[in-house]
């Protein structure tokens, strides 16, 4: 069978891959999109961003219903139909997956389903259900993503030891759930399971959860977790796990002390590894770093002139929106535009309760590097909007260059913080000063006002707080 000729082949139909395929097609290129799963969308759509947010939304009601008795509304304890919840979640994923397929078809993109393998720098072999197919490409964009890491010591082949992938399948609500790793995945899924009734214990090897976020932004999340979870154990390592009937026996090292406990299920969320195995990369000039991620330059070019890599597999922040931006860069470079992934502000959001979001320079980073910055903070306890929905445990923070008054970083914690961070990203990308933010009218009553008032705090004249002038 003759190989299929194409200008561009994109491997992996996640948020990076399909964005690259669509953009290349929009620019008039002949594009083939290869995906090993039936449904397009990658981890983000199938077992990441979207299902986790759906479940967080569904279970948020449980927590809110519990609290609403203080506002004079009382509910019976909720009944949870897991099968129905799963089906609802699945319907969302199906809808989105169809949407992506439809958009691909409208653009005339040929979708090949199957595992791909590089034969050489110009040829891809794909194991499709209809048999082997070969693609001859001018340029390839690798967007095969990453998967949850599962340390060998925990990999017992026991389904009760889950990664986020299985945890999102929501097979059951375990009475005792251990979450290994206090990063954003562990904390988000812990929130889901805690709301559903699991007794959740989070263990984290480091001295804080949500590493990377400023401590003052993490504090409200920690406060919530201390209340909603059974326990958050910091500086604790899991030494080993063993199957023990219908449970898992877990041995911890808690500050030097060994401890053994039984759990119904364990979620391992200790990081992610690139999907580079058995991919034929050795038949190309693509080079990988010591962690296995594909090495790329700021044009997303790999060591092989015909091959580009974007998204998780190319390392850096493992985020869908970073992948989508890299997709644009790769396609623009291929189509001859001068472009580069340089100094792009990539916001981070943790959908815990409350949400944490930040972008640009963090306060901790500035301190650590000894940079001269001014920090302005506006507590949500001074926001009428936050008070109106009983969530004053928020904080808005600006990192400002004292010389130019330029906004270098924005940090947020609070209910809905994730929807607010984009203004911060735009401010930094546009080179806005605190004055720009303070002078821009923000509608009342909204949480967005906290950004404006925070900038006013910098100048010492925020309406809803009082800062004594130095």
């Amino acid at each position: 069978m003759d190989p299929i000729q194409t200008e561009i082949v994109v491997i992996g139909a996640g948020p990076g891959g399909y964005a690259a395929a669509f953009y290349a097609a929009d620019k008039g290129k002949k594009v083939i999109l290869v995906e090993q799963e039936k449904r397009l969308g990658g981890v983000c759509l199938n077992r990441g961003c979207i299902p986790s947010k759906a479940l967080l939304h569904a279970t948020k009601l449980v927590a809110e219903a519990k609290e609403s008795h203080t506002r004079g509304i009382t509910f019976e304890p909720p009944k949870i139909d897991l099968a129905k919840m799963r089906a609802w979640k699945e319907s969302i994923l199906a809808k989105l997956g169809q949407g992506i397929s439809g958009l691909a078809q409208k653009r005339g993109i040929l979708i090949l389903t199957g595992r791909a393998r590089f034969e050489d720098s110009r040829t891809l072999r794909i194991e499709t259900p209809e048999g082997q197919k070969f693609v001859n490409f001018e340029k390839a964009i690798i967007a095969v993503g990453s998967k949850s890491a599962m340390p060998k010591a925990f990999d017992l082949g026991n389904p009760r030891i889950m990664t986020s992938r299985e945890a999102l399948e929501l097979e059951e609500i375990p009475a005792q759930l251990l979450i290994v790793g206090g990063g954003y995945i562990g904390m988000e899924l812990g929130t889901v399971y805690a709301s559903l009734g699991s007794s959740v214990v989070v263990v984290e090897a480091l001295d804080s959860i949500l590493m990377g976020a400023d401590p003052d932004l993490v504090r409200p999340v920690m406060k919530y977790a201390e209340k909603a979870f059974k326990e958050v154990r910091l500086k604790t390592k899991v030494l080993k796990m063993a199957t023990s009937g219908k449970q898992i026996k877990v041995t911890f090292d808690e500050s030097g002390q060994e401890k053994v406990e039984q759990y119904d299920r364990v979620l391992v969320s200790v990081g992610r590894v690139p999907n580079c195995e058995d991919f034929g990369l050795e038949n190309t000039k693509v080079a990988r770093d010591e962690k296995g991620f594909i090495k790329v330059n700021s044009q997303q070019q790999t060591g092989d002139p015909a091959i580009y890599a974007i998204g998780d597999v190319a390392g850096g922040a493992l985020l869908a929106h970073k992948a989508a931006k890299e997709a644009r860069v790769a396609v623009e470079v291929i189509t001859g535009e001068t472009t580069a992934f340089e100094n792009v502000i990539i916001p981070a959001i943790v959908f815990t309760d409350p949400e944490v979001a930040w972008c640009g320079l963090t306060e901790a980073e500035a301190k650590q590097k000894g940079m001269d910055v001014k920090i302005a903070k506006f507590p949500w306890s001074a926001s009428g909007r936050a008070l109106s929905f009983d969530r004053t445990d928020g904080l808005t923070k600006l990192v400002i260059d004292p010389e130019t008054e330029r906004i270098l970083g924005v940090g947020l914690v609070g209910a809905g913080a994730g929807e607010l961070i984009s203004e911060g990203v735009l401010a930094i990308e546009m080179g806005a000063t605190a004055r720009d933010l303070a002078e821009t009218v923000h509608p009342h009553p909204t949480l967005s006002e906290t950004l404006m008032e925070c900038a006013e705090v910098f100048y010492g004249h925020a309406t809803h707080t009082f800062t004594r002038k130095p």
Partner: protein, 425 residues
């Protein structure tokens, strides 16, 4: 109080000390010459920007001195605080960009835009659209000065930067040829001592400057020289009469200055400059005429200002002063700048026609030979007349032969019909 070398004006920032006029213990007055400095342009006296008693002279003959370097220390004289005038930079009046000015512009353009770069990972203060545009155009945004609050770079700033770069690219072409290797390989070194005894002397700074400027003018300006002769029999008589009457020596140069300005007013292109960077003709509404002066150390061209506004007697006096100054090497840098046209009068030495080189950035130069008695046909008769060789070299990029011919014809006319009453005024 330390007295530093004041700003020398456009393009000059250093020189070699050739003379020190003060010694320790001297009472120094404001503007009294402290030392003499030779640089690319000329030898210039450096006046004192303050007064007081000299405690220490910090330089000696042969020292290389740069602007801002301490020349001497003054005591805070007699209890009275030393008066100090701000050393004001001498203003250059040249309309066309000189290579020196270009160098300054390079420095300005290449100056980093903001005082400090943003932290790693944070983009420069420019909207993404502008950063993308800069990338497309290959513009290094870190070199662009942002005009908005917080140093934010907007489209206008990028545009201004590109314009500067373009000007620079134009202007630096001749400048770079001067510094980089010449197009033709240097002549092989010859051992002249093989054929007899030799003596070697290093080129003086002035000679090097003359050499470089002549080469630049000769290689960049397509020269044409127009010859003619002027009958100055009558003018010569007029000159002698008036000299006796006025007490001031009215030289031929005085008359030549007036004659030239009148023709320049009629043909302003000869008083213009070519701005190579912007491809513009710069017409000057002033008439500052340079006079090539032959000194022991080499050619210098002091400039007589506003010749159109001065009468013959004033010009005569200025010329006399200039002659003394030139002999004493007291011509200041400022007096060498801002010329719009040059006259090279070799009449005092002798010789006939010659081909002067245009004094860039001017576009024309008038050469005058020695007036000599020659047979001439007048009213169908051969007469003995005083004939002045006239030669006009011009930049053919800007001026055409027809214009030059008309200029010379009118100039000869001016010489031959000089009005008596003007000479008297």
């Amino acid at each position: 109080m330390d007295i530093k070398l004041p700003s020398l004006g456009e393009g000059a920032d250093s020189g070699t000390v050739v003379n020190v006029f003060v010694k320790e213990g001297d009472q120094l007055k404001m503007d009294q010459p402290v030392l003499e400095l030779e640089n690319e342009k000329a030898v210039a006296p450096i006046p004192s920007p303050a007064e007081g008693k000299v405690i220490q002279v910090r330089v000696k003959v042969g020292d290389k001195l740069t602007v801002g370097q301490v020349m001497l220390s003054l005591a805070e004289g007699d209890g009275a605080a030393p008066k100090r005038s701000e050393p004001s930079p001498i203003e250059g009046r040249e309309a066309a960009p000189t290579p020196e000015a270009t160098t300054e512009r390079i420095e300005k353009v290449q100056e980093p835009s903001s005082a400090k770069a943003p932290p790693p990972g944070i983009p420069l203060p420019a909207p993404p659209s502008i950063r993308k545009l800069a990338k497309d155009l290959g513009v290094d945004l870190s070199k662009v000065r942002g005009s908005e609050p917080g140093g934010r770079i907007v489209l206008q700033d990028v545009r201004a930067y590109i314009q500067k770069l373009q000007q620079l690219a134009f202007a630096s072409t001749p400048a770079s040829t001067k510094e980089s290797k010449p197009a033709t390989p240097p002549a092989p070194q010859i051992d002249f001592a093989k054929w007899g005894p030799v003596r070697k002397e290093p080129l003086s700074t002035l000679r090097r400057t003359i050499s470089q400027r002549m080469r630049e003018a000769w290689t960049t300006i397509p020269h044409v020289t127009q010859f003619d002769e002027a009958d100055i029999t009558r003018l010569s008589e007029l000159r002698k009469q008036q000299s006796e009457a006025k007490g001031a020596k009215l030289t031929l140069t005085c008359f030549a200055l007036k004659a030239v300005v009148r023709v320049l007013q009629k043909y302003p292109i000869f008083n213009a400059s070519l701005d190579e960077s912007t491809q513009e003709v710069v017409y000057k509404d002033y008439f500052h005429i340079g006079l090539a002066v032959d000194t022991d150390s080499g050619l210098i061209v002091p400039v007589i200002r506003d010749v159109d506004k001065k009468d013959l007697v004033t010009l005569a006096k200025e010329l006399a002063e200039l002659a003394v100054k030139a002999r004493d090497r007291k011509i200041s840098l400022e007096e060498l700048k801002g010329g719009t046209f040059t006259i090279s009068n070799q009449g005092g030495i002798g010789g006939g026609h010659f081909t002067p080189i245009v004094n860039k950035p001017e576009v024309a130069i008038l050469g005058l030979g020695r007036g000599a008695l020659k047979p001439a046909v007048r009213n169908n008769q051969i007469e003995q007349r005083l004939i002045l060789p006239v030669c006009l070299s011009y930049d053919h990029r800007l001026i055409d032969g027809g214009q030059a011919a008309r200029f010379v014809v009118d100039l000869v006319q001016e010489f031959e019909t000089f009005k008596e009453d003007e000479a008297k005024s």
